[in-house]
Amino acid sequence: MKNFKIFKGLVRKEFLHILRDWRSLTMLLGIPVVLVLLFGSVMTMEIKDANIAIVDHAKDHDSKELINLISTSEFFKLAKYLDTSDEIDEEFKKGSIRMAFVFDKDFGYKLHHEGHAQIQLIADGSKILTSPSLISYGKIIINQHIASKNPPSKAGYYIIPTVRMMYNKNLNGRYMTVPGIMSTVILLVGALMTSLSITKEKELGTLELLLSTPINRFLIMFAKIVPYLITSFISALSIIWAAKYVFEVPVSGSMGLLLLNTVLYILTALALGLLISTFANSQLTAMMITMTLLMLPTEVLSGMTFPTDSLPVVLQWLGKLLPATWFNIISKGILLQGAKSGSLWFETSILVLMVMVFYLWSVVRFKPRLQ
C-alpha cells in the first residue's frame, strides 16, 4: 500500500510536468486535433465537377448527344472545346483540364453503319490518384448511354472507349514519390538542420560570444548555411540519380532546369531554417516549430500525398504558402510532362519571391544585439 501511495505521487508529478509544458500539451492535444481535421477533410477524395475538354471531330447528332450527357453529369464540367488532340498536352500542363474525350470524325456514321465506334478517353497520367477514377466515371456514363440506346429488341450501338494515360502510360506511382521525397529530404537537411545548428549555439552561449566580436552578423548566418547547402544539393543529386537508374523514372524535361529549381528550393529551405532559428531559443523548440509548422503541413498540403485539387479550398490556399507545393509542381512538370524552360516561370518566380522574403525577414530579426 505504501508503494501505491508513492506511485500516485509520481503519477501526479508527471501530470503536472505535462500540463505546465507547452510543448507536451501541443503534442498531446494540438497535433491530434489538427491531424484529424486535416485528414478528415482531405480524405474525401470524391470527384465532382472535374474540368474536362472535348475534341469533337464528328460534330454529329450522336456525338452531341453523348457530349450532353457528359457535360451535365455531376462528375464532369465541360471547360472547353479543343480543335485537335495535340492541344490536350498543353491544357494538361496548364492544369486547366484533367481529362479529355476525343470523337473521331466518323463517330456517328460508324455507329449507324457498323454498329460500333470508338471514343478516346485521355487522362493526365501524372495525377495517379484521380485519373483512374475519372476514367471510370467516363466509362460509366458511356455504358449508361449505351444501355439506354440498346433496348432488348434492338442491338448494335456500341461505343468502345480506348483509354490513354498521358505522360505515364502505366500509372507508375513513383513519379509522384520522387518529387515528394526530394522536397522532404531538402526540408529536413536544409531547414531542420540549419535551425538546430543556430539554436544550439544560442543554447551553449557561444552565439553571444561571437556577437561580442567585431565579426559581421551576416557572415555568421551565411557560414551556417554553407555546409547544409552543399549536403542538400548532394542529396538531391543522389535522389535524381536513383530516380533515373533505380526507379526508372526518367527526366523527360530539361535536367538543367530541374537542377536550377532544386537549388532554388534548397535556398528557400535554408532561409526558412534561419527564420525559424530567430524564433526559437532552444533546439527543442526549433525542432518542434520545424516539424509542426513546416514538415507536417508539407506532407499533407503540398500535393505529395494528396492531390491539391481534392483538398478543400481553404487548405489549398494554405498549401500555397509552402515552398514545397510550388517545387512539387515544378519538378513534376519537368520529370513527367517534359516541361522546358519557358513554361514554369510563374512557379519559379514564386520560389524566388519566397527566398527573398524569408531571408530579409531573418536578417531583420537576426539582430546583432540579443534582446
Binding site: G205, E208, L210, L211, S212, T213, P214, Q371
Partner: protein, 270 residues
C-alpha cells in the same frame, strides 16, 4: 593572499599618475529597460587603465545586463558609455576589436581542441596565421597549459576550461577584458590560480572588469561597485568600504548595504 596584497600597491601609484581623460571605461547614467522592468538603473562609474574593477551584487541585480551593454551585445535604453575610448552606441564594431569577453557559460567550442579554439577566435579578430601561432604558444606556455594544446575542450575539467577561455579572450591583446562570473562552480585552488592570471594581465596594462557574487573575490579587486536591483549604490576600494562600515569582510559589507537598501526602499514605498 600575500601575493595578491602586494599586487595592490603598484596600481595605486599608477592610478595617481593617470589623467582623468584616459579612462578605460566611462559610463554615465546607463539604463536598460525591458518593457516596464528596469534591469539597469542609471549607473555611473569610471575605470582606469590596468584597473581590476569588480561588479558585485546578488543574482538578478543587473550585473550581467550591464556588462552586455558594454560589450555591444545589448542595446542600452539610455545613457552614455565609452569603452577603450569608443562610444558603445556609435562605434560598437570598432569597440569590439579592442575588448575580450568571457561569458558565464564558458563558451569555448566543446568539440574543438584548445588550439583550434584559439585559432578560430584569433582569425575572427583578424590576426595573421603567424600571429595566431605565436600568440597561442605564448599564452599557453605563459600560463602553464602547453600540454592542453591538442586536447578537446569537452575532456577538460571546469577549471582548465575557464583558464583556457581567458587565454582565448586575450588572443588579440585587447585593452579591456570583461569576465562574467569566471570562477563560479570552481574550487578555491583553481580560483586562486585564475586570479593570479588576472593580476598578471592587469599589470600588463589591460583593464579587467569582473562580475561576481563571491565576496572573497571582491577583496581581490582594486575597486568594486555594488549593484542592488539595477542601481549602483556604492563604488570604492574594498578597504575603504570595510573601514567606512567598520566591518571585517566584504561579505558583511555586502549584506549591510543590500539590507540597508532594501529597508530604505521598503520604507519609501509604504
Amino acid at each position: 593572499m600575500l601575493k595578491i596584497a602586494i599586487c595592490h600597491l603598484p596600481l595605486k601609484t599608477k592610478v595617481m599618475n593617470q589623467s582623468k581623460t584616459t579612462y578605460s571605461i566611462s559610463v554615465e547614467n546607463l539604463t536598460k529597460k525591458f518593457n516596464d522592468f528596469v534591469a539597469v538603473d542609471k549607473i555611473t562609474f569610471n575605470v582606469q587603465k590596468g584597473e581590476i574593477f569588480g561588479f558585485l551584487g546578488a543574482n538578478g541585480a543587473g550585473k550581467t545586463t550591464a556588462m552586455r551593454m558594454l560589450i555591444g551585445v545589448l542595446e542600452p535604453t539610455s545613457g552614455k558609455g565609452e569603452v577603450a575610448s569608443y562610444d558603445i552606441f556609435k562605434n560598437s564594431r570598432k569597440l569590439k576589436k579592442h575588448i575580450g569577453y568571457m561569458s558565464q557559460k564558458f563558451s569555448l567550442y566543446d568539440d574543438l581542441t584548445a588550439k583550434e579554439n584559439m585559432r578560430f577566435f584569433g582569425g575572427i579578430y583578424g590576426l595573421t596565421n603567424k600571429e595566431i601561432k605565436n600568440r597561442t604558444k605564448e599564452l599557453l606556455n605563459h600560463f602553464g597549459m602547453e600540454h592542453l594544446e591538442k586536447e578537446r575542450v569537452s575532456s577538460l575539467p571546469l577549471g582548465w576550461k575557464q583558464k583556457l577561455a581567458f587565454c582565448t579572450a586575450l588572443m588579440h591583446k585587447p585593452d579591456v577584458v570583461f569576465l562574467d562570473e569566471p570562477t563560479s562552480g570552481v574550487d578555491p585552488a583553481i580560483r586562486r590560480q585564475f586570479w593570479e592570471m588576472i593580476y598578471e594581465t592587469a599589470e600588463g596594462g589591460v583593464t579587467v572588469l569582473v562580475t561576481t557574487h563571491n565576496m572573497d573575490e571582491a577583496e581581490y579587486c582594486h575597486r568594486i561597485s555594488m549593484m542592488v536591483a539595477g542601481k549602483m549604490i556604492k563604488v570604492d576600494t574594498p578597504q575603504n568600504l570595510k573601514n567606512e562600515y567598520k566591518l571585517q569582510t566584504m561579505g558583511e559589507v555586502f549584506l549591510h548595504l543590500a539590507r540597508g537598501y532594501e529597508k530604505k526602499h521598503a520604507i519609501t514605498e509604504s
